[in-house]
């Protein structure tokens, strides 16, 4: 039997890497919303229309996560004293380590030498 593919649609899904892998995802609804606007991380802040790179999350060194736009609005006020809304420590944006992407092609290259 021959199958001929006439056309196809690629579908992809993405999530912000907002929870560490060892925590139980989905169990705690509270953990998945921005504490400032109460909109899920996967959505966008109330000022934006489309989630994604234009409305990213921001991580603090204190481990708290917010929509970047929400946090910047707060940090921009004198009342915030540049403190994290959760623990009132001075806000320091954390460097995010990007997990190494799995690239099977890279290991194949080594074996060729």
């Amino acid at each position: 039997m021959k199958v001929q593919i006439k056309n196809w649609h690629a579908v992809a899904q993405w999530r912000w890497d907002s929870v560490s892998d060892d925590t139980n995802k989905g169990d705690d609804d509270e953990g998945d919303v921005c504490g400032i606007c109460r909109v899920p991380y996967e959505g966008c802040c109330p000022a934006c229309k489309v989630p994604g790179d234009d409305c990213p999350l921001i991580w603090g060194e204190c481990s708290h996560v917010f929509h970047m736009h929400c946090l910047l609005k707060w940090i921009g006020t004198a009342a915030s004293k540049q403190q994290c809304p959760m623990d009132r420590r001075s806000w320091v944006t954390a460097e995010r380590k990007i997990a190494p992407a799995q690239e099977p092609a890279a290991s194949a290259d080594h074996s060729r030498d």
Partner: protein, 159 residues
């Protein structure tokens, strides 16, 4: 487009309607996203047995980035609790509601992760821990010149 404050308040209102308020706190009215009323009473032993107070919240478009204006209602026979941090016109010396005054009990300030119910609970415990029913020392002076909106009041730090 719905403002940021109304979206956030709609969520808070839904939570209140689904889960109810903490004991001693009841929603009186929330017909819009600018003014809400609650009643609070202190449960258990306190200096305020059988007293019920009405709290008014006013929100601006920047809520929750900006704090709500909170005060006790003192019209139509309602009275503000007699407390060292509550003026007789219903205004509060409470830090979570303004960034100007460090409240000895509350100890912390407004943060956008707080909510209307969280403020109610804080004020309820402020009353519960009261040791002596008295007005703030500068009550008479304050209410003479107090602005209509408590958020516009400037509390001197050494009052």
């Amino acid at each position: 487009m719905a403002s940021i404050s109304s979206r956030r308040l709609a969520k808070e209102l839904m939570e209140i309607k689904n889960d109810g308020c903490p004991v001693g706190i009841d929603l009186v009215k929330a017909d819009d996203f600018s003014t809400w009323w609650f009643t609070i009473e202190v449960m258990g032993e306190s200096l305020y047995p059988n007293e019920k107070f009405t709290l008014q919240f006013r929100f601006d478009q920047q809520y929750p980035i900006s704090s709500p204006a909170v005060q006790f209602v003192v019209t139509d026979g309602r009275e503000a609790p007699v407390h060292p941090h509550v003026y007789s016109n219903g205004h509060l010396i409470a830090l979570i509601l303004s960034c100007r005054y460090v409240h000895p009990f509350l100890g912390n300030e407004w943060s956008p992760v707080l909510s209307v119910v969280a403020v109610c609970v804080t004020l309820q415990s402020m009353l519960a821990s009261c040791k002596e029913k008295q007005r703030p020392v500068d009550n008479d002076r304050y209410i003479k010149h107090a602005p209509e909106n408590p958020k516009k009041a400037s509390f001197p730090l050494n009052a």
